[in-house]
Amino acid sequence: MAKKGWDEFEIGAMLRTFDGKIDNIAGTRQEDRSYSENSSYMASVADWRLIKPVFNKDYCIDCQFCWIYCPDVSIISRDKKLIGVDMDHCKGCGICVEVCPTNPKSLLMFPEQADEETEIASWPKKDEEEA
């Protein structure tokens, strides 16, 4: 589509989400679909982000609160387990950190340029006052 000139579109052209055949969309995971380049899944909004969530799986209890409340479908959850954050589509709003119920939180916001491994190594300890 992008290869065509401005006047070469078909009149009333439909924007297809998928290229290949998908039988059961409701049961097919996003990474298993064959997207056409017209799906916003193929785009990225990573440059919107000033702070990024870092996921520390040591404290995660797989409650899935972050999955349900993520506005950008960026929390990747497979087989009832939280796997990580989709950094191409995360806009860095921080809702996942706010709704995380563990102590200390298993998701925290850090500046975009922060190194993930360093931050996980120096993860805050359990907050005794709240416990």
Partner: protein
């Protein structure tokens, strides 16, 4: 295919394959997409969707991209309801004539609209769809303002809120009119199901949406959708603001069946003072000035009166 999806807990719910894609252009922390995801994941059936002009439409269909993995249409500001009603009528006609290739797939027909598109501009069209009792669901993403065009007041904007066409200042305290009771009006069409939902109570919401999908006939859903840009709060606080809205009873969660049977579906354990809800948002900041403080008291009285009215209604079963 048309069996109701079983969702017992959040872990089970999280195995859903989302049909709404990321990299849509909604603001960070927008509640619209949280609501849309909860609705779309509540069923495994095929979906026929429409969206009225508004944030949801302009942000999910920016040419050449689309964020929807389902049949989706946008026509005008006012007629997402009639577009879906038309599709539903066509589907029924083709089914009767036996011209459908897969007649047993039972798609669900859903229209989305903002509060501007529903409370003001598309009001007559929605009313028509509800009156004709099409087998469809209309969902209002109620952010109480025309957020897409820069924050003009709509008939959903509550008293005291500062909007760009009803700004607060030394002379005015902002919006002067009370919020329209849209759910009451729609329930008065005696439609099979009408309900108010909030994204933070996901279980209540999914239950109501599934009930709506299982209902034969028109369904009207009003969903509170805090707007980080126009309500003026930090994007990370979206769920906190929604919690305050439901727990302060500014947005009570209830359902009306056949316009008669009235059920309150969520009773907060600790009712939060309305003042806390107002204080959390920048659009009500001016109410905390001395000359406008009486409005907070009026707010509390109005919310209390409404809550006791709803409880009386539930008790009397009318």
């Amino acid at each position: 295919m048309s069996e109701m999806k079983k969702i017992k807990n959040l872990k089970e719910f999280s195995t859903s394959a989302d049909r709404f894609e990321g990299a849509n252009l909604l603001c960070p922390g927008c509640a619209h997409s949280i609501i849309v995801r909860e609705v779309l994941n509540a069923t495994n059936d095929d979906l026929v969707l429409a969206a009225s002009t508004g944030c949801l439409e302009v942000c999910t269909a920016v040419y050449p991209y689309t964020s929807w993995d389902a049949s989706w249409i946008h026509i005008g500001f006012e007629n997402s309801s009639t577009a879906v009603a038309g599709a539903e009528s066509m589907y029924n006609a083709l089914k009767t004539k036996g011209r459908l290739k897969q007649p047993d797939r039972n798609p669900k027909f859903v229209a989305f609209g903002g509060d501007g598109a529903s409370y003001d501009i598309g009001f007559q069209w929605i009313s028509g769809c509800m009156e004709r009792n099409h087998n469809m669901m209309y969902i209002v993403l109620d952010n109480e303002v025309y957020a897409n065009t820069g924050g003009q007041r709509s008939s959903s904007t509550p008293i005291g809120s500062s909007a760009t066409t009803s700004p607060a200042g030394s002379i005015s305290y902002g919006e002067k009119m009370n919020k329209k009771d849209m759910l009451g009006i729609m329930a008065a069409h005696n439609i099979p199901y009408a309900a108010q939902v909030a994204p933070n109570k996901w279980k209540d919401m999914v239950k109501k949406i599934q009930k709506g999908f299982a209902t034969q006939g028109a369904v009207f859903i009003n969903a509170v959708s805090p707007c980080t840009t126009e309500w003026k709060f930090d994007p990370k606080d979206t769920m906190h603001i929604t919690d305050l809205a439901t727990d302060s009873l500014v947005f009570p969660l209830y359902e009306i069946i056949e316009g008669k049977e009235f059920n309150i579906t969520y009773r907060p354990k600790n009712v939060v003072p309305v003042e806390e809800y107002l204080a959390a948002q920048g659009r009500f900041k001016h109410l905390f000035r001395d000359e406008y403080k009486y409005l907070i008291k009026e707010w509390q009285e109005r919310v209390d009166a409404n809550w006791s009215y709803l409880q009386r209604r539930e008790e009397a079963k009318v």
